[in-house]
Symmetry: C2
Subunit: 535 residues, 2 copies
């Protein structure tokens, strides 16, 4: 096994050019071999269907793409590996490869964090055919998962209202780097933080459990806290209607340890131990759960050990002038159980005339999301594609039986048109030689394939979506911070009507072409589509 | 944004200790604060359910875990980050952390690539509580996805018989590193190669399109190939029953370019252009596919352009003493279409009295798998857990309402017992002080929870599953190569009965405990489970 390293990124965190399909390099060779070195191409990177059965997508991954372009270079060791792998290739090609750079590539892209829709080119790559072809797989890899994750996170954000959202998925992520990307792009999509410490360090994302800036020195007495807790526990037993043998002592010890280490951040899991149903377990002759085998056992009694212990420690902390933060529930009917917990907290604060355990409303105010978030269980990949739309200034299109797969030929510019209320109305693609849409001027927007579907739009605001990001071998815009991108997601989402963003039965957003582009597309189509023959 | 680097692995490709949940570090602090520095613990890493509704799993990721242990060290920059994040923590703890090593950790594990089953500890981690706790998230991250991917690949391997399997998923992988891991662990699981060039370079895995070692120098004439191809195409038109206008010239040009670059490796996509159904497209007023709108158009006619062009180039290559490799089909009913292609090949080789285009049988002999493989769409995560089973030589167990979630307490050794035909019969967990099972000796194997389910087994072969892999701060076994691990998967799978491995309705494999362990477990359970009260 190669000992040089087992990672996809170089020392500076940038993805290597060999992270591509061999196919791309053999194609590059075929282009080179047949004299296509100076051919000029335009590729569109876009997707055809929003993920998660939704009607919007968040575009992410652009910064990583630009850094990849910046560092693009086949090292001597890469070239040697390729030589040994592609043995029938001429040496001059490898010389050509080792001198290849992205200096002649031009990239137009949407701002990272923008809400995007099917068919709009997220990135337009212009330049010599060989180098643009070589970028395909890596750009797709960098955009697909980043956008999928940011979109997934944004959907959770919309569903969760004002609750805090934390990403907890590292242990279930698809590889260590998958875990890091999940933390980064879920933050962009609207999460409030992550449990992943390295992500916190690398991207300056809040990590779960960050403490208040009160350095605790006064609190060193274990025995004091212990005594107070034991006292409070005896007090509380009747209130919780439990038998003391049902309350787990190991759990109490763990809670006290935690409270001693973090007296101002006391928050614990209350569902480690079950107290319910053990009388049924003595026979062990089945795996079938037997919920409610004791007719009068309330269903929430399994949490009474944890809740009681939590309250005892919290009251002891209160005596020592610290305030507990809350509880964590990892299993069962969380909504119902948070309500049960709330009832106990209210009862206790009333009975002992102490301030409520938490000044905020007692309800779920933080969700930690793991597997479903980081693996995007509902749809684990986004189908971005990278299609040649122009070669040597001639438009190119992929013809397909499936109309949805026909690609839009030629260089296109995209505009978002807004209503008076600043709602996004429609995205419009036009040909580069057309006049750009302007505020107050009526413009005809057409469905790209259905002749009869068209509408006039008079925009109150017009946004040019494509911006020049890369030229002459360098990034030519100031790149936004992660925080800026996150804000762009939130701003961009605000301009989208809520029926488009909703989970259930969302309305599709309209993506249209100008009349000019419509005619251009359909003429080209008719010219190129072969005519069948009835036999 | 931090500019230090944006990657989860250090320069040597090893995962960093900060790639963990903050929770682990706060727990470590709580342990430290309450004097648990010398507490001795044993953790089991295991899963409870096989993935993909199957009945087996391939254990993978061990080498990466061991390398992580080897490099485990909180750097000065890590410590500074933690200090600033955990502001209420005493300075002495950070000193403790920065001196922390894995020297006192002992790791027993199964060989990487072994077929494994629920509840068998894949890795047993022994050592001081604080360090063993700190390893949890990272070990889970490294084992979960690696094992999931290797298992997914092994399932494809079983289904595909002798066909070649290539991993093509990079562009849809969950991040760049997810793509690399997918290539590596699908190779372990039985794939024959990958399209991912970097994976090829780093792990010495065959990359798709690797060429025969015949350096081609003689072949430089484009015009010769072109002329021959044109001649053959006219010949073939009647045989394919197409009108020449239906055959795409751009496609032909692309094929010829490719053939010129790789005359001994000619294999192309034949489904880029459709020839069918265009007569129906003129109205453009619907998205509904209208297959069969022309009554006599054979459904495979859409591939006739590609097939005809492929055959023309192949015959021209044949004139020049090169043999074409085959075609690639990416869409539609691949099984049916490969049959259609075969028919044309046979017809042509008969008519022109040339050897068949490919000496092998004309059928699908290679599958390239992308999204479904790398994202494990059917189940995108494996649920490995990491549970404390012994603390200071006292057994620990998690009690749960859900019997399936009860963990098996104490240190346990695992054995695999085989039949005379060398079929694996059962995996048996025993207590460390028990005599180990031996060939020819009858032993009672019990279901861990169901009292009445038990069986005597007289093994013809006994395999001790746990081996010592880490002690005194270093790896203490020679680590196998990737190829060795891949062979272990194949050997290990051969010993598993095929009804256990099948896709549909597989038989569960039995995992049992010794009578001694059964009694130990149930006594402990009864001692610890609280007794309810009827009210």
């Amino acid at each position: 096994m190669n000992t040089e390293g087992v990672f996809s990124r170089q020392q500076n965190g940038v993805v290597q050019p060999l992270l591509t399909d061999l196919y791309q390099i053999t194609m590059a060779y075929a282009y080179w071999k047949t004299g296509k070195v100076t051919d000029h191409s335009i590729f569109d990177l876009f997707f055809r269907k929003n993920p998660f059965q939704g009607e919007f997508t968040i575009f992410a991954g652009l910064e990583e793409c630009l850094k990849f372009l910046q560092a693009f270079h086949f090292s001597q060791s890469d070239i040697e590996y390729l030589k040994q792998t592609m043995s029938s290739v001429e040496d001059e090609f490898f010389e050509f490869l080792s001198n290849l750079s992205t200096n002649d590539v031009v990239i137009y892209a949407l701002d990272e964090g923008t809400v995007v829709f099917p068919r709009i080119p997220l990135i337009r790559v212009e330049g010599p055919l060989i180098i643009t072809q070589l970028l395909e797989t890596t750009l797709l890899t960098l955009v697909n998962y980043a956008s999928l994750m940011a979109t997934n996170a944004a959907r959770y954000r919309i569903a969760a209202g004002n609750s805090k959202l934390l990403e907890f998925g590292l242990r279930r992520a698809q590889g260590p780097d998958g875990g890091l990307s999940a933390s980064k792009y879920s933050y962009i999509g609207g999460f409030d933080g992550t449990s992943n410490v390295l992500a916190g360090k690398l991207y300056d994302i809040p990590v779960k459990g960050t403490h208040a800036h009160a350095y605790v020195t006064s609190f060193t007495s274990f025995s004091e806290l212990l005594m107070l807790t034991i006292k409070w526990r005896s007090e509380l037993v009747p209130l919780f209607k439990v038998v003391i043998t049902e309350v787990n002592d190991g759990e109490l010890a763990a809670f006290i340890s935690f409270a001693m280490a973090f007296p101002d951040q006391f928050m614990v899991l209350v569902d480690t131990y079950d107290v319910e149903r053990y009388p049924c377990h003595v026979t062990y002759n089945t795996f079938t759960p037997r919920q409610k085998c004791l007719p009068n056992t309330p269903t929430h009694s399994k949490y009474r050990s944890g809740l009681l212990n939590f309250c005892a420690v919290s009251l002891a902390l209160n005596d020592l002038a610290f305030q507990a933060v809350g509880i964590r529930i990892d299993s069962g009917d969380i909504a119902y159980l948070s309500f049960v917990a709330r009832e106990y907290f209210i009862k206790i604060s009333a009975k002992y005339e102490i301030p409520c355990l938490n000044e905020q409303e007692h309800k779920i105010n933080c969700f930690g999301i793991g597997t479903h978030l980081v693996t995007c269980q509902k749809q684990p990949s986004l189908g971005c594609v990278y299609k040649l739309v122009e070669l040597n200034h001639q438009p190119r299109m992929k013809l397909s039986q499936d109309v949805a797969k026909v690609s839009l030929p030629g260089r296109k510019d995209a505009y978002r048109l807004f209503s008076e209320r600043e709602d996004a109305l429609i995205d419009l693609l036009i040909r580069p030689d057309e006049e750009q849409p302007s505020v107050g001027t009526k413009i005809l927007c057409r469905h790209p394939f259905e002749e009869s579907r068209r509408a006039y739009v008079t925009p109150s605001k017009v946004e040019k979506l494509h911006k020049l990001y890369w030229k002459d071998g360098r990034v030519c815009r100031t790149l936004p911070s992660l925080e800026d991108i996150r804000n762009n997601v939130s701003t961009s989402l605000k301009s989208i009507r809520s029926d488009i963003k909703r989970n259930h039965n969302p309305t599709p957003y309209k993506v249209a072409v100008s009349d000019n582009l419509y005619n251009f597309l359909h003429n080209l189509w008719m010219e190129n589509a072969p005519i069948g023959e009835l036999t």
